[in-house]
Amino acid sequence: MRVLAAMSGGVDSSVAAALLVRDGHDVTGVHLRLTDQATPYEGERAHGCCGIADADDARRVAQVLDIPFYVWNFKGAFGRGVVDDFVSEYARGRTPNPCVRCNETVKFGALRERAASLGFDALATGHYARAEHDGDRWRLYRSADRNKDQSYVLARLGQKELARARFPVGGQTKDETRQIARDLSLRTADKPDSYEICFVQDGDAGGFVERSVGSFDVGEIVGTDGAVLGEHAGVHHFTVGQRRGLGINTGSARTYVLEIDAPTNRVIVGPGELLARTGLEAEELRWVSGKPPEQIDSVQVRAHGGVHEAGLLDVDEARASVRFAEPQRGIAPGQLVAFFRGDEVLGGGTIARALR
């Protein structure tokens, strides 16, 4: 099989490519250049998944595996599909997940299309998730390593995407992946995991949005009773459930962002117990099978953790409402909600609002 292996320069995609080579496939490696970034000597910020140091790591792994390797410029697709969305979502008071968008529009969007046009049979990534062919359709499952499971960020992939997708490390643990990399003397074997947003180099998402959009109007921070407690420099600095950096003194250390009301430019804060929500409403739905499921048994509402027992109240083509078995905190509009039945990923949508 001719496989195009997306190689970020991290250990997971390195080993994914190595496993495909070991299994006798005809593998070509590709590293995507997604943003304009400083060269390593311009500053100490060469982390994330798209720096030149990462391209160098991916290239060195490809050399060791003796496979062709290319660096492709996908800045256009990434800018349109991920960065623009990230900025506009934050600007309207929501908290987007750029990795989800990247998988949907870049890796399994533009890159998948290019791979197909070049005659590759499959596109492989280093995600911890499992895709299995069952009868006439593909199903997506959580990975064998539950701690590293990344099926959440793949929840918006459909049949077209999964039919050509390969996740070679999805059936093993991270420790096993690192051990394989060490056995093969890959230089990425002990490279730390990346948790940052790759294009926000200083970790300041609000600052990034501000540089992209320009200035934001100052707004009010108000309590649940409507009392003005302070000012804020723009709704893009806030996420529902956030406690730090509110810049107000309420006399209580336990004050959280409860809600962001972009139309009135207000951030509503209050005690943590008021964060509890009984469910959520999701929009922009994508289902793995192509159609809504009869029922679900759980949802995941953020990339790490946030797995809650839940059921569908109602679902149609455009929207789904979900009720949690127990009230949950930290339901942030803009984040992806992934729908599960057991270990199987059924689909994903964007959280439009939380239900009380």
Binding site: T28, H31, D56, R59, D66, I67, Y70, S117, L118, G119
Partner: protein, 381 residues
């Protein structure tokens, strides 16, 4: 599975070593290892080989031997030329630097770096054929201009620039004139006497990588950038790369001996390639077609095609080609040369540079055409 590169059409990137150069270098990689600056017979022998190479190179470009400064390559030569003269000129109250917009990054990025460090930098545009706008150059150069840099021939589209007239413009204003002749040297006569500074590279003429030269006309003051043992009249310190310099000299000799016969043959192959591509591919544009170009250069933009997937298909077929411009990571960027020529960015992302050379055959060209046509058809779906 790695493809094997069998058809090499990237001579503008680098060229195969002449057998004569390899033979000339061999003793200096072997028993003639002496440091050419030392004080015994073996060292004197190495130094003699360097001076012989210097004479060969000087004669090849109409310079005097003492005007030749050996460097580690074209990039270093360009850096010394720009930085070394810019700092001198500023002491005379001249803080202006004028370069063409289609310079190699060795010149362009050096100028921009100087621009970030207090110099005034002007980039002069080109016409749609990739030739400098001479009236814009005249407007840009003034009594405050310290150095003007216009390349002899462009590395991406091969267009030959009117350097003699550009040099006149610079000198009329009292500015120094530098030309990057790295791409020109294999294909057209280079007249170093017509410029104050001329940059050359060994590996573009079938010499070894890691060798180059800056020709500095007598009387032109240049500040050294690399300080140390004082080699090359103090302008480029560092132990002599004896084998590299000897190989450079031999390669220049071999190139000049072959050039008269080689140029028409390569030009005919290039024309064959270009005509076949234009005939067989719709929506193709030959860049620099209306200008005088180096005989070996064929640079095209193909509508609806991106360079990256096309280069992968060609690579898989064993064909070495280029998109013309790549960033440090290796990803293709819209070429600054094509952009300066007014090529829209989506078309520029579909640039394909094919550069021929002394070992290129008719079969190579015909096979490349076949694979390019098939690749374009496949990618257009």
């Amino acid at each position: 599975m790695q493809p094997r590169t069998t058809i090499y059409l990237d001579y503008a990137a680098t060229s195969p070593l002449w057998p004569e150069a390899r033979a000339a270098m061999a003793p200096y990689l072997d028993d003639r290892y002496a440091n050419a600056s030392s004080l015994y017979a073996a060292a004197r022998e190495a130094r003699k080989a360097i001076e012989e190479a210097r004479e060969v190179l000087a004669a090849a470009v109409g310079a005097r031997p003492e005007e030749v400064i050996f460097t580690s390559g074209g990039t270093e030569a360009d850096n010394i030329a720009l930085q070394g003269t810019a700092f001198r000129a500023r002491n005379e109250g001249r803080d202006g630097i004028v370069v063409s917009a289609i310079e190699h990054h060795a010149v362009l990025d050096t100028a921009r770096w100087l621009g970030r460090n207090g110099f005034r930098v002007t980039e002069v545009g080109v016409d749609s054929n990739g030739v400098i706008d001479e009236s814009a150059l005249e407007r840009a150069v003034d009594r405050k201009t310290g150095v003007v840099s216009v390349m002899t021939a462009n590395n991406e589209v091969g267009t030959v620039q009117p350097v003699a007239r550009c040099a006149d413009v610079a000198r009329a204003a009292g500015a120094r004139f530098h030309t990057d002749a790295v791409q020109a040297l294999p294909w057209i006569p280079v007249d170093a006497a017509g410029a104050d500074l001329t940059a050359l590279a060994a590996h573009k003429v079938g010499g070894p990588k890691g060798g180059g030269a800056l020709i500095i006309r007598r009387g032109v003051g240049v500040e050294p950038l690399v300080h140390g043992g004082g080699q090359e009249r103090g302008l480029r310190s560092g132990t002599y790369n004896v084998a590299g310099i000897v190989g450079f000299g031999a390669a220049v000799q071999a190139t000049l001996a072959a050039r008269e016969q080689l140029v028409p043959r390569v030009r005919a192959l290039r024309d064959r390639l270009q005509e076949a591509l234009v005939q067989k591919i719709s929506g193709i544009m030959v860049n620099g077609a209306g200008a005088e170009r180096l005989a070996n250069n064929c640079n095209v933009c193909i509508q609806g095609i991106e360079s990256e997937p096309l280069l992968l298909l060609l690579d898989a077929a064993g064909i070495a080609a280029s998109s013309g411009s790549a960033c440090q990571s290796g990803a293709a960027e819209a070429s600054h040369v094509l952009t300066a020529m007014g090529v829209p960015s989506d078309l520029a992302m579909g640039a394909l540079r094919l550069t021929l050379g002394r070992d290129t055959t008719t079969d190579d060209v015909d096979s490349a055409v076949e694979h390019i046509v098939a690749g374009v058809k496949r990618l257009r779906g």
